[in-house]
């Protein structure tokens, strides 16, 4: 066998979902003994590519070669049999079984039909010892920390597959020490010539552990580079997808002294976001920039009472307000368009009309219904203003396209006449036309005096409409850009700042739970 032959080679992988091209002729090559990081924002196609490799999805085009042989895994179990094992972020093991049972399920040693527990425990212990783990394997898995569960999951995947190991966001809920423990395991596996695909949104970790980096964006391969050859700024640029040097509309610091509408002091949540100070003026748009998992959505959810803050306080027009639940936030004139439309936004089986009036109706209470004529009027107004299609308000919202669903959710909040509106990735996953409309809408709303907090990974957009930009990293607000400082370059530099990429020995300084 040729030593240079790649372990896993995927060429021109296509995957099409109704209305969306999730992967567009993506190439991917993994060598044995290599840690290959796969990067990209939400919707870039990372998980779709992984699912095509592990058989969870069936690719619509392209080839996958493992050790030079074409494979087409039917499902994840089949892929595992072929040698491709996967470990997911939420550990996909069973917390209610013992460690040993998790490791050996389906292949427990038995004698006369009875599981030989002692032998099973001994075997498990031997396997885990190779990973430097000396634990009581007869205990329930759930009694151990996520980090240890993660290593057990890796040990299991390697034991069952043994060629390729895919780690999907394995460090998302680990602290710095645990990350190092995990990296130790990864380095050991490298020596065993296992090819590792590492997905993470922590760039410092990627620089520390990976040999090669592949960046995807909008379902397309942007570039595959060796880690030592790339700077963090270039990497962030590739991920966020604006062209360096492209002239962006610079907003002059408008100099307007805005009266403060809401003010958050020392506001934070133990696990989600470090306490921060934030004041937003009337008619001001504050943009939030940061990579996935940086704490941007967490900030929004804490502000809106989805995960109530556990430190600090908030004032609205100089009066203390209660933000302990979405209801309380709404009562204070807040609105929130969540990032995940499907699980947090739309009520799939209800009509467009009902989805639009939901928040307003909830605010009025069940006993005080909006008259039908008023409902129709509101719907007509927003369907026209936001150009929602189809225009039939009685259609279930699930039948609408993503962009139109997004507009309906926007309409839901506009109908409540909020003074402060939080938009989390308002333009994600919607087509270009709707994109522009939503940006125009944001500008109009702010001209009308509404205060907005907009989270987006589209930097061009943020630069275009924000009066001020907060950069978030590692669950902390790390920088604030005002006026002429607001450029995509500055944002990228702030995100990538302090990432020491020259020797790959970056000190972990993240504040993760």
């Amino acid at each position: 066998m040729n030593m240079d032959q790649p372990l896993l080679k995927a060429t021109k992988i296509d995957k099409i979902f109704p209305g969306v091209v999730a992967l567009d002729k993506v190439d991917f090559t993994l060598k044995a003994g290599e840690v290959h990081a796969l990067l990209g924002e939400n919707g870039a196609g990372k998980s779709t590519l992984i699912k095509c490799l592990t058989g969870a999805y069936h690719r619509d085009g392209g080839d996958i070669l493992l050790n030079g042989e074409t494979i087409s895994p039917r499902d994840t179990l089949d892929a595992q049999g072929l040698g491709i094992g996967t470990v997911y972020q939420e550990v996909n093991l069973l917390g209610n079984l013992t460690v040993a049972e998790n490791m050996m399920i389906g292949r427990q040693p038995k004698k006369w039909g009875m599981v030989q527990t002692k032998q099973m425990n001994r075997q498990t212990k031997e396997i885990l010892n190779q990973y430097g783990l000396d634990i009581d394997v007869a205990q329930l898995l759930s009694t151990y920390s996520v980090a240890i569960q993660q290593i057990i999951a890796i040990a299991r995947a390697v034991d069952l597959s043994g060629k390729v190991l895919i780690l999907d966001e394995p460090t998302a809920s680990l602290d710095a020490k645990e990350v190092q423990m995990l990296f130790g395991v990864i380095r050991k596996l490298k020596q065993k010539n296992i090819g590792i695909i590492f997905i993470s949104h922590f760039l410092d970790q990627v620089f520390e552990i990976s040999d090669t980096i592949t960046v995807l964006r909008n379902g397309r391969l942007i570039e595959s580079v060796t880690t030592v050859d790339i700077s963090s700024i270039d990497l962030v640029t590739m991920m966020l997808g604006y062209e360096l040097g492209e002239e962006t509309k610079l907003k002059e610091h408008d100099g307007v002294e805005r009266e403060t509408l809401v003010e958050f002091c020392n506001f934070g949540h133990k696990q989600l976001i470090e306490p921060f100070y934030l004041a937003i003026g009337k008619g001001e748009v504050v943009g939030f920039a940061g990579l996935l998992g940086s704490g941007r959505t967490e900030t929004a959810e804490t502000l809106f009472g989805v995960t109530p803050h556990d430190s600090g306080s908030a004032t609205f027009k100089n009066e203390n307000i209660n933000l302990s639940s979405p209801r309380a936030a709404i009562a204070n004139g807040f609105g929130f368009c969540p990032e995940d439309r499907k699980t947090d936004g739309i009520i799939a089986d209800l009509s467009v009309r009902e989805n639009i009036i939901l928040a307003l109706q909830a605010q009025r209470g069940w006993a005080n219904p909006l008259p039908k004529s008023e409902q129709d009027e509101i719907c007509k107004k927003y369907i026209k203003a936001l150009d929602i299609r189809p225009t039939d308000a009685e259609k279930p919202i699930r039948l609408l396209s993503g962009g139109n669903q997004q507009k309906v959710i926007l309409a839901r909040w506009l109908a409540t006449n909020p003074e402060f509106l939080i938009l989390d990735e308002p333009t994600r996953g919607i087509d270009v036309g709707a994109h522009a409309e939503i940006i125009r809408l944001i500008e109009n709303l702010c001209e009308d005096g509404m205060s907005l907090l907009v989270i987006s990974s589209e930097l061009d957009e943020l630069v275009a409409y924000s009066h001020r930009i907060i950069v978030v990293r590692d669950h902390e607000h790390i920088a604030e850009l005002v006026g002429s400082e607001i450029t995509t370059n500055n944002i990228v530099e702030a995100i990538a700042a302090d990432l020491n990429v020259d020797n790959g020995q970056y000190e972990l300084k993240g504040v993760i739970s």
Partner: protein, 321 residues
């Protein structure tokens, strides 16, 4: 933390011991082999059915058809013995095959049509009871020398107590149940399903086979409970054993199993059944208390155990954060 897995079981045992001590304190006669023997005999059919229910609940399901299957079994045996000259053992074998297949079919429907076990077994409950009605609406007495033989066989304990055939059968079923649940691959798979079906699937657990197996076991044991009931009452009656499924569920929960699945002990169910039997025995001994207190006390115990499980889950997740 480490012991929290066993906490519900320990609580169950503690409650049983305390309750028994209380009974003994008030009625010293209750601590006799006679009472213990009767406790086993009187609750034999419930215990056997509850073992099946434990498997179902451990896997995260529920089986509402148990009481109806017991009634069907009783009627079937009584009528077949009356109408034909088949030996009871042959009839027993036949009815066990029927009930196991009945359960297996329910399991298959639950798995392949992805329907909630609650509704599928509800249909099964109506169906089994309906068939029992169709076979006979009357209480059909069983008269067979083999029955008399079985009913008269017992092991005499010192102190005059008796371990009857059905009492012993229950203990054997519990023993076998413990082995299957805690010492076989199938048992681990049952727990795995209770931990989460999608994850189990990802880990390669044969979900279809296990689901069908679980409900087949439950059907089989409901059939065996029906045989036991028929020996206990010497009759088959289509209106018998109404609501036994509720008692079985209560016994399982009081036995320390998590009603949402994935955690529990077959042995706990035995204690659960005995606790329920003890309440009844106490009420009989007392003489002034009325039988409805049984239901109320069981309801309170249920509530307490559900709360305890909830609390344990909360404590566990709080500790991890």
């Amino acid at each position: 933390m480490m012991k929290s897995r066993y906490l519900p079981l320990i609580a169950t045992c503690l409650i049983f011991v305390l309750a028994y001590a209380l009974c003994y304190w008030q009625f010293p006669n209750m601590l006799s082999t006679r009472v213990v023997g009767n406790l086993l005999t009187d609750n034999a059919f419930l215990g056997i059915a509850a073992v099946g229910m434990t498997f179902v609940i451990l896997s995260g399901g529920i089986d509402l058809s148990i009481g109806s299957v017991i009634a069907f079994t009783g009627v079937f045996i009584a009528v077949v013995l009356k109408e034909t000259s088949l030996h009871p053992l042959v009839v027993f074998g036949l009815v066990l095959v029927i009930t196991a297949i009945f359960g297996g079919i329910m399991g298959a429907i639950i798995h392949y049509l992805e329907m909630p076990p609650f509704v599928v077994t509800l249909a099964g409950m109506f169906l089994a009871r309906g068939i029992a009605f169709v076979i006979s609406t009357d209480s059909v007495p069983v008269k067979h020398e083999f029955y008399t033989f079985l009913q008269d066989s017992f092991y005499r304990l010192p102190g005059g107590g008796r371990i009857t055939v059905i009492g012993a059968a229950m203990l054997v079923v519990f023993f076998v149940g413990i082995i299957i649940a805690h010492r076989t691959r199938f048992g681990t798979n049952v727990f795995a399903l209770g931990g989460g079906i999608p994850t189990s699937k990802l880990m390669g657990v044969p979900v279809a086979k296990t689901t069908i197996g679980i409900y087949a076991i439950s059907g089989f044991l409901a059939g065996l409970a029906g045989i036991t009931f028929s020996l206990y009452t010497s009759a088959g009656y289509s209106l018998a054993a109404v609501g036994v499924e509720l008692d079985a569920i209560a016994a399982v929960v009081i036995g320390g199993a998590l009603l949402t699945g994935g955690s529990g002990f077959i042995a706990g169910t035995l204690i659960g059944v005995l606790i329920m039997g003890l309440i009844q025995t106490y009420i009989i001994f007392d003489g002034t208390l009325s039988s409805w207190w049984t239901k109320i006390v069981i309801g309170i115990l249920l509530f307490a155990f559900i709360l305890m499980q909830k609390g344990l889950l909360l404590a566990a997740s709080a500790q991890k954060k």
